[in-house]
């Protein structure tokens, strides 16, 4: 029981200490929620592309490169519609 109880904490420590490049981050934009506020592409211009017609957003790719992960997290955090989903 003790081992099981402690496992999540140990796992978190392990993830935290793992090299940044080893973390896989996936991103998607919920098209029903996105209203084209454009903050994501201001914050992470290499990771989001906006429609010419109405400014709605899509990820450039589902897998986020290591050097863009912080910016994509900040974009998700800043989305007024909370339309950006991140899996890591």
């Amino acid at each position: 029981m003790r081992f099981v109880h402690d496992f999540p904490r140990l796992a978190r420590v392990f993830v935290h200490k793992s090299p940044r490049k080893g973390v896989r981050v996936k991103v998607s934009v919920d098209g029903q929620r996105c209203q084209g506020h454009t903050l994501c592409s201001m914050i992470a211009p290499d990771s989001f592309v906006l429609s010419d017609i109405d400014g709605s957003s899509s990820p450039v790719s589902e897998d986020v490169p290591a050097d863009q992960q912080d910016a994509v997290r900040e974009a998700a955090h800043s989305c007024p519609e909370q339309a950006i989903l991140i899996e890591e």
Binding site: T38, S41, D52, D54, H77, S78, C79, P80
Partner: protein
């Protein structure tokens, strides 16, 4: 204003109504609300983030981020404005405007699917890609407006800059002649800042009437001889094969003007006043603009929230976040108060130019997100950048700075005079420049939608 946690009824039927137990006397049209905005916001958020107010025949007030976010996206919360006045659907104003209303407020007073039909016609003119094409045009209006004043060492940032640029650009995008800008700009600003009982209200109403007639004339002219722009977009729109009714077209044109003028003016004036009061921050913004200007713009938007909220009407019985609402009840959604919610924004009453996670509410939430948001940002950034470059030592005169008496409709400013070290103009003044820009509009047709034309305006 005060919280009244008693169970006494405030409903029209006289019976006790537990739903409305969190009663708060909320009157955003008073100068008290402007003066005590931070205290009232904090009190409502801690005691009654979802309040019932007995004011204006009774209405709900959403004062925190959670309720604002959920209600603005709720499918049974309606924007519709029934002009007959026979139903409770009164659009986005609370209270209902005293003046006789003959048109709805365009897409802002429509529900789906009608809203998306009209909005779809406007989007290709207003998307980020569409607005990017106008940047050299905007910069040129800004240059000319500043050149008018640059040798004198004195400017009123409202009258001489922030009232000029949004008006000229909006007319250009609509396909209306640029030399009409003053006939559109003056009544639009004055009708927001002039109380209905003020002595000058009759003069303002007459100016508004003349602007309305010019709008109708433009609509008829463009119908006969189409020229590109937002007016033409609405004229070309077909709904089930039929053209849109003239009154709906006029309602949308009124919305474009009302939405495009006073809000950007308000944002710019407040930001320039704050930067004058915080000269170190001004230097920092100028120095680090490459990385900071976008973030700072969003923070100015959050902090000053030019359009402080919108009215709605419940179109069905619904429970949201534990409160039960009934069909026909009215609701005020406060973007301005949600923008000060400590649950979302650390130190909400501080202006932090490089704020992180700034998911502000200033352009609204949900399908009615401000259709002109990209125009507002582009025009604001152009004006602020030019002021930082050309009058870096400007100082606003606090004695001459005049804020709107109330912030119930727009958190705006009437005047913001400033002094600075004079310098030489970079080009011709406003009148000559408008003639040139009109020629450019006629030759390059930049008011076409992004689907037809992708090139930036060339200032030749």
């Amino acid at each position: 204003m005060s919280v009244d946690d008693s169970l006494t009824d405030t409903g029209p039927d006289g019976a006790s109504d537990d739903r409305k137990k969190n009663t708060f006397y909320f009157d955003r049209h008073t100068s008290e609300y402007r003066e005590q905005f931070e205290e009232i916001t904090s009190e409502m958020q801690s005691k009654c983030p979802m309040a019932w107010s007995p004011t204006y025949n009774g209405h709900w007030v959403a004062a925190d981020s959670k309720h604002v976010f959920e209600l603005a996206r709720c499918p049974v919360v309606s924007n519709h404005h029934d002009l007959t006045g026979e139903t409770p659907y009164q659009g986005i104003t609370i209270p209902k405007a005293q003046r006789a209303t003959v048109v709805r407020g365009g897409i802002l007073e429509m529900d789906e699917p009608e809203h998306s039909t009209y909005r779809g016609a406007l989007n290709p003119y207003l998307s980020p890609a569409a607005i990017k094409r106008w940047k050299p045009f905007v910069d040129e209006i800004v240059r000319a407006a500043i050149d008018e004043k640059i040798e004198s060492g004195r400017i009123d940032f409202v009258d001489d800059l922030a009232n000029v640029v949004p008006a000229v650009l909006t007319l250009a995008m609509m396909g209306i002649k640029l030399d009409k800008w003053l006939a559109y700009s003056e009544p639009t600003h004055l009708s927001v800042s002039t109380p209905e009982h003020a002595p000058e209200a009759a003069r303002v109403a007459e100016m508004s009437r003349e602007m309305g007639i010019d709008m109708i004339n433009n609509m008829m002219e463009i119908r006969e001889n189409p020229r590109p722009g937002l007016v033409n977009a609405l004229l070309q729109l077909r709904i089930d094969g039929e053209p849109a009714p003239d009154l709906e077209i006029l309602g949308n044109l009124g919305l474009i003007i009302g939405g495009g003028f006073d809000t950007t003016t308000a944002l710019t004036a407040h930001a320039l006043e704050w930067l004058s009061q915080n000269p170190q921050e001004r230097e920092r913004l100028s120095r680090d603009r490459e990385t900071l200007l976008d973030q700072a713009t969003e923070e100015f938007l959050r902090f000053f929230t030019p359009a402080p909220g919108d009215g709605r009407t419940f179109s069905g019985d619904v429970e949201v976040e534990g409160t039960q609402f009934k069909e026909g009840e009215r609701l005020w959604i406060s973007w301005a108060m949600a923008n000060r919610d400590p649950e979302v924004f650390e130190e909400p009453n501080e202006l932090i130019m490089d704020r992180k996670g700034n998911r502000h509410f200033s352009f609204g939430i949900g399908v009615h997100r401000c259709v002109g948001s990209n125009v507002a940002r582009t025009v604001f950034k152009s004006m602020v950048t030019a002021v930082l470059d050309r009058m870096p030592d400007y100082v606003c005169d606090p004695a001459g700075a005049e804020h709107y008496d109330t912030i119930g409709v727009i958190q705006g400013m009437k005047h913001l005079p400033a002094t600075f070290t004079p310098s030489k103009p970079l080009g011709p003044g406003l009148d000559e420049t408008l003639v040139k820009l009109q020629r450019i509009c006629d030759e390059q047709l930049p008011a076409r939608p992004i689907t037809e034309h992708k090139d930036e305006v060339v200032i030749d």
